[in-house]
Amino acid sequence: MRPSRTLLYRLWQASPPLTAVGLVMLAAFAAAAVGVVADARLVTGAPAWLKPAKFAISTAIYSLSLAWMFTCLDGWTRTKRWVGWTTAVVFVAEVAIIAVQAARGVTSHFNVGTVLDGVLFTVMGTGILLAWIASIALMIAAFRHRFADGALGWAIRLGLLITVVGASTGGLMTRPTSAQLEAARIERMTVAGAHTVGAADGGPGLPGTGWSLEHGDLRVPHFLGLHALQFVPLMALLLGGVEAVRRRRLVLVGAASYASLFAILLAQALRGQSVTAPDTVTLVLLAGWLALTTLGAAFTAQGPETLSNRVSVSL
């Protein structure tokens, strides 16, 4: 059997709903990508089908990552079944609503323009809250589980922890902005919430992601935070050849570094600053982050005997 089929089989064994949704979303991504090319309509300045494409690929990667994590967690059958089904059902509803709204040529998130728009936005918000709670449940299971591979176990736990925190930045976007609240005094509110900080959504953005070139964009830390789930375990896998204790320490440094970068980018977005135009405060923070990460990695690169000796001496 080819390796890819073996992996797919293992993912399916671990969670049929997540694996199925992962594959369906890959197909949905391909379809939405065709839509980006074929449908010239713009929604808030970006191709109408760009957002369904982004959410399809994002949910595909997320679902398959969760299924892979399930393969590392022996037991926990009921937790995995609940987390798998909840996440899968929510993602299908989420991407379906985003696709329907894209087909209608309107925004999906933050749209309270008509009763239908408002109801769909509320369903999306409630659904994603459920998926978030499911990810917390999985994280708790991971923290309680005894992993055969200790370093990978810590990577999964901390990756999930950063993802749970990173996902919660979505909540910062759904609050109506002060400008929207001000406007609502005069006329009915049609847009509640925004991902841009310091201006209305829809200004010029980076190609592909659409992240604002002129203002803060909460989607930057949201993206980085969400993907800790893949990045931190991947780092542990890439460090597979490193001696076990050192590998675990490197995973801890890597996770701390990733969390710090997330915090720096979140602070930058909240200050209304574009990710492409860092000011001196952000630059100094990034320089400190780079130096501490490098030194952290350098100082972890040490055999276990030497370090345990040093600890006992210093104690």
Binding site: A287, L290, A291, T294, A298, Q302, T306
Partner: protein, 142 residues
């Protein structure tokens, strides 16, 4: 020729020097041709610019070096301000070249040296401190 125009030329030359220098990490000879370009040729060229700027504009310059206010007055001349900047560019590269050479000799992992080079490029002394930290650990290990 204005100091601003010279500045616009020197900056990309220095960046090209840094890229050449960094590539030296992937060629484990103590000093590869690329590292020599970034660590010697470019700094020497920048030093030439510095020398020329000083030779023409230092005589009769305001201020001096005995007080901070004197230094501030000195740099009110834009040619001397340019010279100061080119001084940074040239010497940061020399420090970076030493880091590459030293790292190659000691077999310091590239992944640890690259951030030090980036920091040396952006914040000179911070990168030097960072590299010495990395080097300290490597020295204890061997």
């Amino acid at each position: 020729m204005t100091p601003d125009a010279v500045f616009q030329v020197c900056n990309p030359v220095a960046v090209a020097g840094w890229i050449a220098l960094m590539s030296g990490l992937w060629n484990r000879q103590p000093v590869s041709a690329a590292a020599r370009l970034g660590g010697t040729v470019v700094p020497l060229a920048l030093s030439g610019v510095y020398l020329a700027a000083l030779a023409v504009h230092l005589p009769g310059a305001p201020g001096g070096f005995s007080s901070l206010q004197g230094v501030a007055d000195f740099f009110t001349n834009r040619w001397l301000l340019l010279a100061g900047w080119v001084h940074y560019l040239a010497f940061d590269l020399v420090v970076g070249a030493w880091e590459v050479r030293d790292a190659n000799e000691r077999g310091v992992p590239r992944l640890l040296v690259v951030p030090c080079l980036v920091l040396t490029f952006l914040f000179g002394p911070v990168g030097l401190l960072c590299y010495h930290g990395v080097r300290l650990r490597r020295a204890r290990m061997s």
